[in-house]
């Protein structure tokens, strides 16, 4: 039985629910069409509405959630920030009340302020809120799809796996969610960044901090690169993009320090030549970047399905 009313952060989700979503995502991966029919039968998904409210620009997360909702047969409405009143000074409380009147079953919110999804979840009734990224807080569906990708393409268990997360960890909600999830799952985490881009973390036993990328990458099984927001330079977090690339860019040469079968991931969109060399990003052998996008739709289907049906489909599935 799935417990969560909303998907707001990895930190507030129970491990049971996390495993539930990952397991259903695996079944969806095998039997995508079955879920569409089952959703109709179980929760009458044709009469349910999913609203995507993206107050911040997003292409892949917004489209991924849209596709996931449509594949499950929901009515999906996109409220683009530019075309709506949400950018015209309306408060988030008014937004919540307006949305409530539309009576959605699922609301996917991306917002520049940390805690915005929590705020909406407290104001909306009979609607599951999915945090599609809030400020510098969390991006739980990204962490879940990253783990599902590792499960499928690298190893079905991450215990003892050396996973390096590299880049602007201080401002990255993807990193927050991934650190929390992978730490709980027992991976050996190596966080690599200059101190200006590294937040202070609690002392976790299986998390190591590195400022030297060459040391942090040694023997890594998976490397998760983070996007460097280009405005970080003007705020004196780093002196220049060129210098950043020299010290923290993932090049083919650096990749050799890691394990010979290392996999490279990136949540996108990438800055080629800033945090990652094109040859690494496009490597058929090492890169899982497009596989992440593919798993993204399936994990998001699993999230929406879990929130609406609350029970596993596995036992009903045709074997």
């Amino acid at each position: 039985m799935f417990q969560s009313q909303h998907i707001l952060s990895i930190a507030t989700m129970g491990m049971g629910d996390i495993d539930f979503i990952l397991r259903e995502a695996q079944y969806i991966d095998k039997q995508p069409n079955y879920y569409h029919d089952a959703m109709h039968r179980e929760v009458n998904s044709g009469k349910k509405t999913q609203i995507n409210l993206f107050i911040e620009n997003s292409t892949r997360t917004a489209r991924s959630f849209e596709l996931a909702g449509k594949k499950l047969g929901l009515d999906v409405i996109d409220l683009a920030p530019n075309a709506s009143s949400f950018s015209k000074g309306e408060t988030l409380l008014d937004t919540a009340l307006t949305l409530q009147a539309m009576n959605p079953s699922i609301l996917v919110l991306r917002h520049p302020e940390s805690g915005a999804a929590h705020f909406l979840s407290q104001k909306l009734h009979d609607c599951a809120v999915i945090n599609g990224g809030d400020g510098t807080h969390e991006h739980p569906s990204q962490a879940l799809l990253d783990l599902a990708t590792i499960y499928k393409f690298k190893n079905p268990d991450v215990r003892g796996l050396n996973i390096a997360i590299c880049g602007d960890i201080a401002h990255s909600r993807v990193a927050r969610s991934n650190i929390e999830l992978l730490r709980q799952k027992g991976a050996n985490l190596r966080l690599i960044a200059p101190k200006t881009l590294m937040p202070r973390l609690p002392n976790y036993p299986n998390v190591q901090i590195f400022t030297d990328m060459n040391k942090g990458l040694a023997g890594a099984d998976v490397i998760m690169m983070l996007r460097l927001q280009l405005e970080r330079m003007s705020n004196n977090f780093i002196p220049s993009l060129a210098e950043y690339y020299q010290y923290y860019g993932l090049t083919q040469q650096r990749l050799k320090i890691a394990d010979s079968e290392v996999k490279v991931m990136h949540p996108g969109p990438m800055n080629r030549g800033v945090e990652i060399e094109s040859a690494v990003a496009d490597s058929l052998e090492n890169s899982l970047i497009l596989q992440q996008v593919e798993m993204g739709v399936k994990v998001r289907m699993a999230i929406i399905y879990a929130l609406l049906s609350r029970k596993s489909m596995f036992e009903y599935m045709p074997k």
Binding site: L92, H111, E113, S114, G115, R173, R176, P199, P202
Partner: protein
């Protein structure tokens, strides 16, 4: 005017070391007699206090209104303050208009105040428009009634300007109320800690306070080298262990420095911030770590921190009913003020009353009106029920 005799009360007046059962006589708005022997007056009304406490009316060093020149807002503030035992409240110069010239000070102080029991004072701004560029006419504002000067929640980063301000304030004998936070290190909304970072809150570094205080102490020492005239430096709402220690050392060297804290900062720590993103606990300065909270209590007990201020902020509901980042800091701190002081300050009652009465009155230099129950003082009195648990009102 009527005469009133209060009998059968516990009189607590820390300034005059009074703590006894007795009574006092008020004639024409002044205290004419006080002592254990007073039982019934010759004429006028007699009020039997049945063992309740009478002490000097509280003095609030800082309250923030959206518009200090609004009679409606002042009336609301007076009512709230009165119910928490305050007889005098000083308004900060922020809000709709920054109180940075004489006319604006006059506009505030010349209002028809609704409740005579609570006296309204105000501070002037230190620099024009809080821009930290040009000094205001502090002397003229002082003559118009400003009791001191503050940049409210802004700090003056320019050390040369700050030195000039201190030198000038020393020359005219002004009180400077400083918000001791380095601007750059304190731009976030929550104390810098692993769990607030995990919540995605923007960090406000606790060292910001110690750095600002250390600089101002260094400037003050520099000025004192040339002889001290009448400068008084007061650090508002200090919150960190490092700040308490820096002020403690400076006071031990005899520097004219005082400071206050709010009831929030010795009652709660930053663990109050969690996945609920409760905007009630968004404050400026933010709630700090537990060792900071304990250091504030220690500072109150050893006298480093002389006063407790409400830091009341009048906000609209919308200002708090939003995300943590968008919410405005502060709030209606009068609501629970006395309860928090009583439960969490760990001060014996007379000591607590001292930090709410004579100490802030001395800081503001208004001891001829507030802070004690001596004969011939104006009758600014607060009544507390005998267990101390319930604050009855300001008489």
């Amino acid at each position: 005017m009527t005469n009133i005799t209060y009998t059968n009360a516990r009189i607590i007046d820390p300034q005059n070391q009074m703590d006894f059962m007795g009574g006092l006589v008020v004639q024409n708005g002044h205290i004419t007699d006080i002592g254990p022997e007073i039982k019934a007056g010759v004429d006028g009304n007699i009020i039997n206090c049945n063992g309740d406490i009478l002490c000097p009316a509280f003095v609030d060093l800082r309250a923030n209104l959206r518009d200090p020149a609004s009679e409606e807002e002042c009336a609301k503030l007076q009512l709230l303050a009165m119910n928490q035992g305050f007889g005098a409240v000083v308004l900060t110069p922020a809000g709709k208009y920054i109180l940075d010239d004489v006319n604006r000070i006059r506009a505030v102080l010349r209002q028809e105040f609704a409740h005579k029991q609570v006296k309204i004072h105000c501070y002037g701004a230190i620099t024009k428009g809080f821009q930290a560029k040009e000094m205001t006419e502090m002397g003229l504002m002082m003559r118009a009634g400003a009791v001191g000067f503050t940049e409210n929640t802004h700090a003056i980063s320019d050390s040369l300007l700050m030195m000039r301000i201190m030198e000038y304030a020393d020359s005219i004998g002004a009180l400077l109320l400083l918000h001791p936070l380095d601007n750059y290190l304190s731009s976030g909304d929550a104390n810098y800690a692993p769990h607030t970072i995990a919540l995605g809150m923007r960090p406000s570094y606790p060292i910001a306070e110690e750095i600002a205080i250390s600089r101002d102490i260094a400037l003050l020492k520099h000025i004192i080298d040339g002889g001290l005239n009448g400068l008084r430096i007061h650090f508002s709402h200090i919150t960190t262990a490092g700040a308490v220690q820096a002020i403690r050392l400076a006071q031990a060297q005899g520097l004219p420095i005082t400071c206050d804290c709010t009831a929030w900062h010795f009652s709660y720590n930053h663990e109050k911030l969690d996945n609920n993103y409760n905007t009630t606990y968004k404050l400026n300065p933010p709630l700090r770590a537990e060792n900071d909270r304990l250091a504030i209590i220690q500072g109150l007990q050893d006298g480093t921190i002389g006063a407790i201020a409400s830091d009341y902020t009048s906000l609209r509901n919308d200002d708090k009913n939003t995300t943590f980042l968008s919410a405005l800091p502060g709030g209606d701190s009068y609501n629970q003020f006395w309860q928090l002081c009583l439960q969490n300050s760990q001060l014996p009652l007379p000591k607590l009353i001292e930090k709410l009465t004579i100490n802030p009155a001395k800081i503001l230099n208004i001891t001829d009106e507030f802070g004690s129950l001596a004969r011939n003082m104006p009758a600014n009195i607060t009544k507390i029920d005998q267990n101390g648990a319930k604050l009855l009102h300001c008489l």
